[in-house]
Structures are given as C-alpha cells and as structure tokens.
Subunit: 376 residues, 2 copies
C-alpha cells in the first residue's frame, strides 16, 4: 500500500496472478476514471450499471470522463435497494448490456453501492460468458467490502447471495468524495465492516478505530487510512483463498447471524440494512463465543460499546417491528451455512482480533443461544 501523497490516490494491489488488479482510493477518482480505465482495458465501449439515486449524482461526471478518454458509455439504470439483487433486474441488465453491444474487451462498470456492485459483477461475468469489469463503489460498505474480492450475485428466496459467480474486477476506483453524499445511517452501516477487519485479526486496528472513529466519520486522512487498511485486509484474505475453501470464511464474522436477521426482516432496509445486521451479528458472535467459554464476556461488551458509540444497533431488540422466533432464525442459518450431522461452521473468536473458523458448532447450542437472546 502506498501512502496517499498529494493528489495521488492510495493504491492497494490484489496479486491474483492473471486476475490481479488495483484498488485506487482517494478523492476525485470519478473525474479521472476515463484515463484509468482506458489505460487498462482494450475496449472502447462501456455499460454503466447504476441505480437512480447514484445516477443523479455521478452518472454525468463519469460519462464525461469516459468520453474524454474515448470510451462511449451506455447507462443501465436500475431501481435502488436490495430487491434489485434478483432475477428480473439481472435479466434486464443483461439484455441492456447486450443491446449496448458490449463485447468481451469492453467493460461493465458498476457505479453504486454493494447491491449494484454485486449485480453488475454478476452481469459482467455472464454476458458473453464474461466481459471486463470495473467497480466504482460509492458507499463505504462497497468500498471496504463488496467491491473487493470477486464475489458477485443475487439473492434467492432461499437466501442471500445464493446465485452468482466469482468474478474479480479489473480495477476498483474507490472515490472518497462519493461518501459525502451518504446518509449517516449508510456510513455507519459501512463502518461495521471496517470494524470487522479489526475484530477478525487486527486488534491494533480495532483499538485505533476506538480512538479515532470520530476522525474517520469526519473524513480526510483518517478515513482514507481506514478504507485502505480494510481493502488491504480483505485483499490479503482473498489472495490466500480466492474461492472460499478455507480462510476466506473469516470475512463472515458476524454474517451468519446477520444474514439470518436480514432474512427475518425480509431485506426491508427501513428496518435493517446489511451493515446494521453485521453489527448485531458481530456482537452476537462475541457473546456466543463467550457462552462457549472461548472468549471473555468483556470482549463482547467492548465490541458492543464501540459499535454503539458510532451509532450502530447492537442487539436484536433494536430492530423495529416483530422478529420471527428463534426456530425460524435457526432455519435461516441452516440454509445459509452447511449443516452436517447437526453441526455447522461458524466464525467464533477467542477475543478482539482473534477470530477463527469453528467447523463443529452444535446446531442445538446456537438454537439455545438464540432462544436466550430472543425469547419472543
């Protein structure tokens, strides 16, 4: 990682052999997107997949930057929200990309948050069995998590992200200026994933966040540093285990509980967004680890304290509306994770920054824990 010097963006390289790519982080990257993309890709056509909200802010400057670099762009504008990660918008986007005559050397550009990135990456992976793919994540969540690592896909009625492909981008442009238009709630939700990297295996980063989170929220150098540290952490894990056969599962810290809560609230973002679900899920994962006598309850309280300080929800009780019972939450977990002989794989922890993959967590223990936490 290079330190940000003057106006040069911070660069995180993801060394994945013939699928290697750069993540550039800093201000003004949308205005410079055409130059960066033209330097890396052969094609001179692009389809910009985005949503109505993001398009209003960034479609015009991106299109202009591409045109200046000789790249003709066609917009594919989808409705905002998690429901866009489903078959009908996927089909529509594929057809619009084909109508724009995007060829294998041309690019699909994802301009938006995690939903747009996941959908557009899937589109780029399947149109003509794969065209080039550029991520321009405009939310904190997308910049630190979903735009890096090549997981793409849509949701199914059987659960989140169950249909998709591994498709590494050719370039990620994380323009920190775009975070200025995020709502505080969206920024906080992305911050949950930033904190996650500390909790996985970087206790010093977590401590730094505890001390400096207000600067991260304020913007400037601390924010760039938090984003770059997160991207580097994710890149390191992805390089080690691109297709999630092992270590990559650590990135799911807090996500098993989190996904179940998202399913339980029918992906209704007015009740719960992904990062909030992960925040609650991380506290639950630390609490469950303490209950299994793996970690101290003090660590769970420390996680809870920090996430609450930044304004994130930290318990199921904070989710508006009625939640289904513990049994149904358990069913959602069982569909999300493989259950074998009554055991499931879970990311547990021995303390702050000491998470690990536990392959033999008894389903019954998880169910009992959920019943305690959510007697409803």
């Amino acid at each position: 990682m290079n330190a940000a010097a003057g106006s040069a963006p911070t660069k995180v390289h993801v060394p994945l052999g013939e699928r290697a790519y750069d993540i550039l982080i800093g201000p003004g990257l949308i205005a410079g997107a055409g130059r960066e993309i033209a330097a890396r890709l052969k094609g001179r056509k692009a389809a910009i997949v985005t949503d109505e909200n993001v398009a209003a802010h960034y479609l015009a400057p991106l299109t202009e930057s591409l045109a200046e670099a000789g790249i003709a762009a066609t917009p594919v504008i989808l409705p905002p929200g998690e429901k866009t990660k489903s078959f009908e918008p996927l089909m529509r986007a594929c057809n619009e990309v084909l109508a724009a005559r995007i060829e294998r050397n041309d690019a699909v550009i994802a301009l938006g948050g995690g939903v747009i990135g996941d959908l557009a990456g899937f589109v780029a992976g399947i149109v003509r069995r794969g065209v080039r793919f550029v991520q321009i994540p405009t939310s904190l969540l997308a910049q630190v998590d979903s735009s890096v690592g090549g997981k793409t896909g849509i949701n199914s009625r059987h659960g989140k992200n169950l249909i998709g492909v591994f498709n590494q981008p050719d370039l990620v442009l994380a323009d920190s200026d775009t975070l200025k238009t995020l709502s505080p709630r969206e920024f906080r939700a992305g911050y949950a994933e930033v904190a996650k990297y500390g909790l996985i295996d970087q206790p010093d980063f977590f401590a730094w966040l505890e001390a400096n989170w207000q600067d991260v929220f304020a913007g400037g150098e601390a924010r760039i540093r938090a984003i770059a540290t997160s991207c580097q952490a994710k890149a390191d894990v992805v390089v080690e285990d691109e297709r999630e056969m092992g270590r990559r599962a650590l990135l799911n810290l807090g996500h098993t509980f989190g996904h179940a809560l998202e399913a339980a609230t029918a992906y209704d973002s007015s009740r719960l967004v992904h990062g909030e679900a992960v925040a609650i899920g991380m506290v639950l994962a630390h609490d469950f680890s303490a209950r299994m006598n793996l970690a101290s309850p003090d660590d769970a309280r420390r996680v809870e304290r920090h996430l609450r300080a930044v304004g994130l929800p930290v318990s199921m009780n904070e989710i508006p509306g009625q939640l289904p019972g513990a049994g149904q939450l358990m069913d959602a977990i069982a569909q999300d994770k493989k259950v074998k002989d009554g055991k499931l794989t879970f990311i547990l922890t021995r303390g702050i920054g000491q998470s690990f993959i536990a392959n033999d967590v008894p389903e019954s223990e998880v169910l009992n824990f959920l019943k305690e936490k959510h007697p409803g």
Copy 2:
C-alpha cells in the same frame, strides 16, 4: 482414448489441469452412473436437471443407480425445447436446486440433450457460485459437442448463448444406449456436428464417415468410434484454448450462418433444429470460401453430397416457411460475431479438413453472398 474392450467404456480424458475430467462413452452407463459419480465426488446429494421427455425414459434408472451408490437425487424437470434456454426456466431450476439443499460438493446432473446440458451447466456454475457438475448427454448432438468443453448458457433476445459461464463438467457419461430412443431427425442433426470435426481438420475422418456413415447410423462399434473421435477432437481444441481466445473458434465452422438461420426461424424446432442449421451453415461456409477463391467449389459439392446422403438439409430453400431477407440475416450475424470496421471473423476453409479462422471478412461480401443464395 482407449479402445472399447468388452464392456469397458471408451474413455477420453480432457487434461485441463485442476479442471481435468473424463468422458466415458459406451452402453449401459446410466445404470452404472452412481458408481462412477460416487467415486469422483464427495457430496452425497444430487439434483438431476432433465426434461419431460428424457425423464420418461431415463430418470428412474438414473435415480436408482445413484441411490445404490448412496446418493440422494432430486429431479428438476423442465419443458423440452430450445425455449427452456431462457431466464425463467433458469431461475426456476436454480431455486429448485437450492430447495434440494445442494451444496458445493454435491452435484447438478444434466440428463438430456444440448438444451438441458447448457442450462444445467449454467445452473451448476452459479448456484452457490458453483457446485459440482456431471453431464449425462442423451442426444448425439450433446454427446459429441455440447457436453464437452464447458460452454454453458442461455439465449437472449439478442441472440443464442449470449448469457452463460465457462464451467467444465467433473464427468461426462455418454451412454450410447440413449441414442436408440432418438428420432431419426434428431440423430441426423447430431451427425452434422460429427461431420464437422472431419471438415475442420480431419479429412481422413470425413472420408471414413463418407464410407461408413450407414454403420454409424446403425449403431454398434462404428457409432462409438464416431462419438469418441468427435469427443477427442473437441477435447483437443478445448485444451488448447479453453476460453475461446483463438483456435477454439474453429468449432464454429458452419455456426455463424447456422445461428443466423436459427434466429431467423425464431428457434422453432418444427422448422429447423440446431444440427440442421449447422449442416446448411457448413455448406454455406464452403460455398462462401469457394466464392472468395479460397477453396474449390468441388469441396462444397462434396460436403453437400454427404450431408444430403444422410438426410440433412443443405440449403436455405429447404427450411419450411418464409425466411427474412438477406439484410436481416446479416444483422443476426453481426450480433453473433464482432464486427470491426466492417470486417468480421468467420471460419472459412481451403478444402475438406482445412478450415481456418479468417479475421477480416468484409461484411459486404457476406451480404452479397447471402443475397445470391437467398434472393427473397
């Protein structure tokens, strides 16, 4: 390739590194499928994607064979026909495979012809971002072509096979007994692809087919030999160029014209099936090569004579109903193939078994040729 000895199937190995797999060819392979699959895959669950017609013949024996090997199978039965290669059946199949709780080490098994293989391979490639995949092709076309090589996908309103993934199977079981239930028309259509391998680069194989096609149609050793030679030919090309950056394009001999004719008949199999379109397309490719002074017109007549002898259509005039004009056929070709500065890539030939990739065929020459052949 091993010679078929006694009851041992003929084996063609496809050496694609960590994606290497075997193609087994011979009688009785459905009855032995459970053993072969259980020996190669860790999972003990499978979803059998098939169509109503094929299910009536082979679903019960396959399910039984799997059960004997300890593999629990769930059927996913789709309507027969090319229209199944579209988004709605794809979505339905994905959801049914997920409902069957197929995990990454479990298998999606394609039991059917090319349509089922292409769809099921796509499903296997995207459910959970990839589960194991077994091809059990039951048509000649699927056995010699679509089940080998990893191309999967569906059609779009913009053209055939425009949405999909490269997904190599883990095993192909080409049970020659299944060809007994094919209609003569279906068998002939598959035979067009067999003849194609001779025309691409094996003039001796084409001559052998001219002399022995009646034995191939009758069944027995000549048929197995024709299938195995075809699979080996395709495997050789795929190993050299898995993702179709170069040489693999040779497999499209006859297909550029063929795809345009399929589009022009709205994929209506009562008018034209894929192999018939390829037969006409191969004659057109030889005729066009002669017109460009690359090959002798005698070669085109020799191809025409052989394909007509086996009962395949060899000219656009034989397609029932009205065809759109040459201009519309040209548009279909331009969507199928990249056109750059008025030039397109085409598979042409210098004679029987001497095909090559021509990168700079003038669109105008193709259009004039089509106008001559199809003045309508």
